[in-house]
Every structure is written in structure tokens, then in C-alpha cells.
Symmetry: C3
Subunit: 334 residues, 3 copies
């Protein structure tokens, strides 16, 4: 529990209303109860906010000031709410430092003193883990892997030889990093799997979702640049390079040797063919299929992916055509 | 082994044939051997049944009675066959009650006396597990999770803080329940991940496939209602609510804040965009992409999803158009 | 480190250049440094090879002999490079034989003397594991599973009752083999899950990617024939049969009771509906959706999948139609 005034001060906000209001939780406008603080990050929600049972609100400072209920005005209401959740003690807690009795940490691994290693983890020879990083349970870390500072590795994640995590990287449960890529050549008796001797590099602030897989390079490196975010069940093939702040939604599949620029957004279940090159700030619609070379600042949709506007026009044209055909078919009837 | 007459009695069937026939196994009509019982759940299979090597059959009571080989007639032949598989001892066995020596169960966890916890499981503080529930090996259960009665949790499943399973829930291997959703807002240095303080609720008889992920709500709850079934590798985003008996086939992706009604069937690899609202008894074809508001009782197909009939008409119209173009192209040739 | 002459001899190549050249690593043409050997498997790369910093090259013997830098000529350069990677000690090492102290191996399991079982594995009663096979950490092997010779099972893989691996099979991290299929029938209170009493058989040289799932048959068997390769996050339903050397790329979904012929290639994220029958040597494009009966030697694309050429013609016809519509729309403007 905290006072509204303290919370406002903590996030550098402008308070409109009684500073002594007790805040016990956070919630959405619709679900909020009497002790809750709720966010209003767009003026579309002002109506909902007027009717909400929330005790107070955290409001985008650009929203028109006609709103009368107790609220904190800030520039980034959802970022400020994040901080308030921490102050209220509602965020998930970092595990305590220490190596669980059942964790198997090789004698040659080098761990900072405040690292947390959970039960049934296996940490192999030569692994390095930096300050304030934490492995949950059943994590498997192979020989020579390097993990930076303040990283979080969820249960069951697998980090194979040749993987490097820089700082503040988060790895989802059962994610698999650094397995050899899906590369085969025809051999005399059947496909021959090629050795993959390359690496995987996840730079600062990369997040990987549950069950996602990032394959290691054949030679060289598969690289996810600073602040790349992957949702759950995403596949990234060998030798891909993804630019800063690009986001891949759930179940996206990226084949081998793909280049993706910075600040791209790839919608759920989209697929990107091998050797595709995508420029900066490209948006790929959900379920789209991309190949070839895509220039910067495009908004794509469909399989094969084309400009969203063109894809929409094609949809409309096709619908009209089918209706005309249908009408013609009807008029043909005896 | 059992006698055909006993099996018929056990499932309340009507026996046509010698009750003393020995039944040692069950199989399909094509694969059956001389001791097997095989199902005939549609009259399309009567021909196959006449030629089958099975010793006897279990037949839908609505099928015409001209069939001469030994058989049991019942209303739900496949449900009855399920029971017979159990009687014959062919179904997978529940593990014996008890906590494996290597399972780490926190002192404040409350487990019913006949619960089974397999090797290398980790059960955190305050967890509650009800009568006859079983965790296989390597299961990770976080603080405060509640598991009802007769639940089955397969190897490597991860149940994060805030997850509740009601009764007879089954969780597939490596499924991940309750991880924070994929919610980011732009921040000064890159995307900022929003804390997700909400929950996941799986009601009675929910089944989750292997490797599937159900994210916890930002506030509030992600809810799968009674008898919802998810196949393998399905992704359900934060704050979704799925209605009773709806089924999501393999690799379906459901983005955040989606509402799905009761008795829906979503085909494999279909995707549902965030904030979509789907009415009751809607069928979504495989690989379709759904967004917006879908009224009840629709049958959808395609990306973007439209009435299946309209989608089919469009396919036909397009094919004709391409053939005409092709013909025109040919006639244009010199 | 090795001498170029030794490496050439080891792979039966023809050496052009000084045999005493020291080789310390392998790399791609672009990334190679001064001690590296780099592959030239197509004459398109000869220009890159001329400018590469590599010390030497391994070149397809069919490529025109005008290339002047030190190189080894062989019939299968990538297969030969695989061997060279092993000679240089750069390939990932097999784990040492032996059963880790923390591995729980049932007294009735039968393991060849040189089997390796990693930490926190669980191997149940009656399991058989052949010569030179290795389980990594956290692997779960249920009652009666049979594993052949020289198999590799990655961390966290789950092998359920009824699974058989023949020889040289590789199972990716967190793959789940042999869970009951997604088979339900309507019951009085909701969908009833059917018992699946069948098996999964992976023949010689089958490879399964990380996080993939292969369900066991209802009765009978789900069978992946010799040299079938699955990439990551692939789903194969109950009772499927996949022919020799067929390859399924990342995130492919195969529903129940599908037959796939030999030497097929299924592109990433493609889906195959239940009871589909696909002939030999069929190519299915990425994201395509296949159903019905597909004759041998087809090249398919789209949803629903049709001949790639027809699908391409349709794309072109549709684009033209939309442009015409757009032009008409413009001329209609006042």
C-alpha cells in the first residue's frame, strides 16, 4: 500500500487530487476495484475512466485536462505504472542470490557472487555468469557459454555451446538457443547434416519468449541486436542478423541467413524465407510470407508479401469479381 | 484379456454374437489381428469391417443391423471403446501416489495425501494440489499456484505464479502457463516490457497440448473455460477468454485480449489478432487469419477470414480469371 | 591445426596449391580469416572466393578449373568440409560414456556399456538403449521405450511409452515424442479424449528439431521412415506415416493420419490437413495448406495448395485486375 502523493512523486508526475488517497493495487479501467490505480493512456478511454471504480488514475499528460477524478499526469503513463507496480511490491520478485544445493555448477565456471542458480540446473565447464543474473530451475548451460549482468533465464531453457548473452537479457521457459541449424546436403545415402561451428549472440536487453528457438550459425554468428524482442514459439534460423529494437510476434518463423533491419515489427505467424533482406522500420503483417529484398519503411501484407495497400486492393477486387461471377451464374440459371 | 460378453455388459451394449469370444486388444479395422476389438463408428466402414481380421466389433447403434460378424452395439462406440481399453489394462497407468525422493516440495505447500509428484519436480511455497493429481518429472510450479483434483501435469511443464488449475485439467509436456505477456511500450531507450500482474485460470477438464503457452494477464485474468482443449504448440496471449468446449488445433496462435465463444473450433495454424471477438459455435478454417468482430455460427476461411462459401467462390473466380488471362496470353503470342 | 595436404588426402580430394599450408579453422568466404578453409560449392561464389581472406578453399570438382588460389577439389565439398571440421576438432564432442550420479535409471533398464546418460535424466523400467547412444540432461524416458545405437537425445526431450528410436536418431531439445494425439469425440458433458494406445517409430537416421512434437497413434503406429528430418517446432499428428528422406522445415504442422511419400520437401509453416495423402518427391511451398490426394512429383504452393505455376499465374492475374480496378476508380473521380 502507498499514498497517491508518494506514488506521484516517485514517477515525477503532476498530481490532481488528494495526495492521501490509499492505493493498494493496479488494474484495468474495467476490472479496477476501490483501492486500485488504473491507466488512461489514450483519450478514447476517458469515458471508461469516468465510470471506473478505480480510486485514482495515471493519465497521459497530453490528454485534455477536463478529467476531474484523482489522477497523476505523466509523459509515459504505462512506464510510470510499471514503476508503481514495483513500489507496491506487485511485480514478480527476483530470486535470492545463491546456488541451489542441487544445481550442478562445474568447478571452472565463474559466477559473480550475487548470481542465483535454481534447483536442478546444470552449468558446464568454463561458463561465465555476470552480476545479478539468475537462472531458474532445470536450466541447461553448455561449455563456454557467457551470460552478462542482470540476465534472467526461465525454467528449462537450453543454452548450447557458443551462446553469448550480453546484459539484461531475458530467456523464456524452454527456449533453445544455439542448436545447430537445419542445414543438409544430399549425400550418397540420404541427407547429410552439416556441422554448425558458429555462435549465437544476444545483445543487451534482448528478450526471448517461451519455447522459442534460435539456431547457431554454420560458421560466423546468429545475432539479435540490442532490444530485439521475440514472443513465444518463434523460430530464428542459423546465421540470421536482426537489427535493434525489432520485434517478432508469436510463432514467427525466420529461415536461415535472413537480415532484418532496425525497428521492424513482424506480426504473428509471419514467415521469412531464407536469404531475405529486410530494411529498417519495415512492418510485416501477421501470417505474411516475405522473401527477396524489402526496402526500408514498407508496410507489407500477404503471401507473397506486398505493400499492404496493394494487398487490400487485391482483396477488394477479388471480392467484386467473385460477386459478379456469382451474379452471372445466377442469371445463367434457367 | 476379457470375454466379449463382459465387455458388452460393462459398456451397457447390445451383444450380437458369442459372449465367450476372447478379446485381447483393440485396433483399427485395417490393422486388427485375431484377438482385437475394432470400432465401426460410421456405416462407411461396414465394408472394411466385413474384411477385417478383428475378432469382434463395437458398432454405432444407429448403423443398419445387417452386419453379421460378432459385435457390440452402443450409442457412443468410441466412448465405449475408451472404457474397454481401460478394462483391458491398455490405457496408460496413473503413476502411484507419493512424492519422489528427488522432488523438492516446499514445506508450506499443501498436497492431498494421494498426490503423485515425480522426480526432479520443484514445487514452491504455498502451492496447493488436490486429490489424485499427478505431476510427472521435471515439473516447475511457482509460488502460490493452485492445482485441483485429478489433474495430470506432464514432464517439464512450467506453472508460473498466478496460475490456477481447477479439476481434471491436463497439461502437456513442456507447456508454459502464466509467463508475462508480450506487452511493450516505447521507452526512451527502447521498448519497455510492461509488468504483468494478472493470472491464468484453467477451469475443469481443460487440456493443454505439448509445448503450448498461455500467457498471464496484464491485470485481470487469462481464462480457459470448462472443457477447452488446446493441441500442441498453441499460443494464447495475455487476457484472452475462451468459452466452454472450444477447441484449438495444433499451432494456433491467439494474440492478446481475444474473446472466443463457446463450442468454437479453430483449425490448425489459424491466427487470431488481438482484441478480436468471436461469437459462439464459430468454425475457423486451418491457417485462417481472423480479426475484428465475428458473429455466432459463422464458418470462416482465409486470411483475412471471411465466410467459407465466399472464400471458395473467390478461389474459383480467381482460377477462372487466371485461365482466361493465360488463354489470352497464348493467343497474343506471335 | 592441420596441413592442407593432410586434409586433402583425408577427404580424397585433388590438391591444387602448397600442401604445407596451415589450416586452423573453417569459415564462410566473407567471414574467413587468414588460417581458414572456406567452401566454394557453386561457381557463383568464385568472385567472392578470389577476394576472400581464407587461406585455402574446398571447391566442387565440377567447377571450371580457372581458379588459382590454393584449393582442394572434391565431389561433395560440404560433406568433405564436415569431415575436415571433425579432423580439426571443431565439431561438438560426444559426451563421455557413463551414467551421471544424478541420473535415475531403473534397475530393469538395459543400457549398452558405452551409453552416456546426463544429469537429472529419468529412465524408466524396461527401457533399452544401444551402443554409443547419449542422453543429455533432464531427458525423460518412459517405460519400455527402445533406443538404438549412436542416438543423440538433447536436453529435456520427452520420450513417452510406446516410442522406438532405431539407429543414429537425433532428438532435439524439448522435443516430445509419443504423447497421445488430439483425438476427441462428443460426449454427454463435453469432448471426451480418446485413449491412444499406439506407438511412435523413428527409423534410422531420423532427426527431430527442438520443441517438435510427434504424437503416438490411436492404435497402430506413427512412423517416420529412414532419414526423415524435422526442423524446430514441427507438429506431426497421430497415425502419420512419412516416407524416406522427406524433410519438414520449421513450424510445419501435419494433422492426423497423413501419408507423405519419399523425398518430399515441405516448406516452413506449411500445414497438411488430416487424412491427406501426398505422393513421392512432392514439394510443398512455405505456408501452403495441403489437403486431399496429391500425386507424385508435384510442386505446390498456396492455401489451398495448387500447382506452383498456377498459383503464380493467379497472383499475376489478381494484381492486374486490382490495377485495372484502381485505374477505373481513378477515372471515375470527378
Amino acid at each position: 500500500m502507498a499514498k497517491l502523493g508518494e506514488l506521484s512523486a516517485a514517477v515525477g508526475g503532476k498530481l490532481l487530487g488528494p495526495p492521501g488517497t490509499d492505493i493498494t493495487g493496479v488494474s484495468s479501467l474495467l476490472e479496477a476495484g476501490s483501492g486500485d490505480l488504473a491507466p488512461v493512456d489514450t483519450d478514447k478511454y476517458l469515458g471508461l475512466a469516468r465510470d471506473s471504480k478505480a480510486a485514482a488514475f495515471i493519465v497521459d499528460g497530453r490528454i485534455d485536462a477536463g478529467f476531474r477524478r484523482p489522477h497523476i499526469r505523466v509523459a509515459y503513463p504505462l512506464v510510470a505504472l510499471n514503476r508503481i507496480i514495483e513500489i507496491l511490491g506487485l511485480s514478480r520478485q527476483r530470486p535470492a542470490p545463491g546456488i541451489h544445493l542441487t544445481a550442478l555448477v562445474h568447478a571452472t565456471a565463474v559466477l559473480a557472487p550475487d548470481v542465483s542458480v535454481g534447483p536442478y540446473c546444470v552449468v558446464a565447464a568454463g561458463v561465465r555468469i555476470g552480476r545479478a543474473s539468475a537462472l531458474a530451475s532445470h536450466v541447461h548451460v553448455e561449455k563456454g557459454v557467457a551470460i552478462g549482468e542482470e540476465c534472467e533465464v526461465a525454467p528449462g531453457a537450453v543454452l548450447c555451446e557458443g551462446v553469448t548473452l550480453m546484459n539484461r537479457v531475458r530467456i523464456g521457459a524452454h527456449a533453445v538457443l544455439g542448436r545447430p541449424g537445419f542445414g543438409y546436403v544430399p549425400g550418397p545415402e540420404g541427407p547429410v547434416h552439416l556441422h554448425h561451428v558458429g555462435r549465437v549472440l544476444l545483445e543487451d536487453d534482448v528478450h526471448i519468449g517461451a519455447g522459442s528457438a534460435v539456431d547457431r550459425a554454420r560458421y560466423g554468428v546468429t545475432r539479435l541486436s540490442r532490444h530485439v524482442k521475440l514472443d513465444n514459439l518463434v523460430q530464428v534460423g542459423h546465421n540470421c542478423v536482426i537489427g535493434e529494437r525489432s520485434m517478432l510476434c508469436g510463432q514467427v518463423g525466420v529461415a536461415g541467413s535472413v537480415r532484418i533491419g532496425i525497428d521492424c515489427l513482424v506480426g504473428g505467424q509471419a514467415g521469412i524465407a531464407d536469404h531475405t533482406v529486410i530494411g529498417d522500420r519495415v512492418r510485416v503483417g501477421a501470417q505474411s510470407g516475405v522473401f527477396g529484398v524489402v526496402e526500408a519503411d514498407q508496410d507489407l501484407f500477404g503471401t507473397p508479401a506486398r505493400a499492404r495497400r496493394a494487398a487490400m486492393r487485391e482483396q477488394i477486387a477479388l471480392r467484386r469479381l467473385a460477386e459478379k461471377d456469382g451474379a452471372a451464374g445466377d442469371s445463367d440459371a434457367p
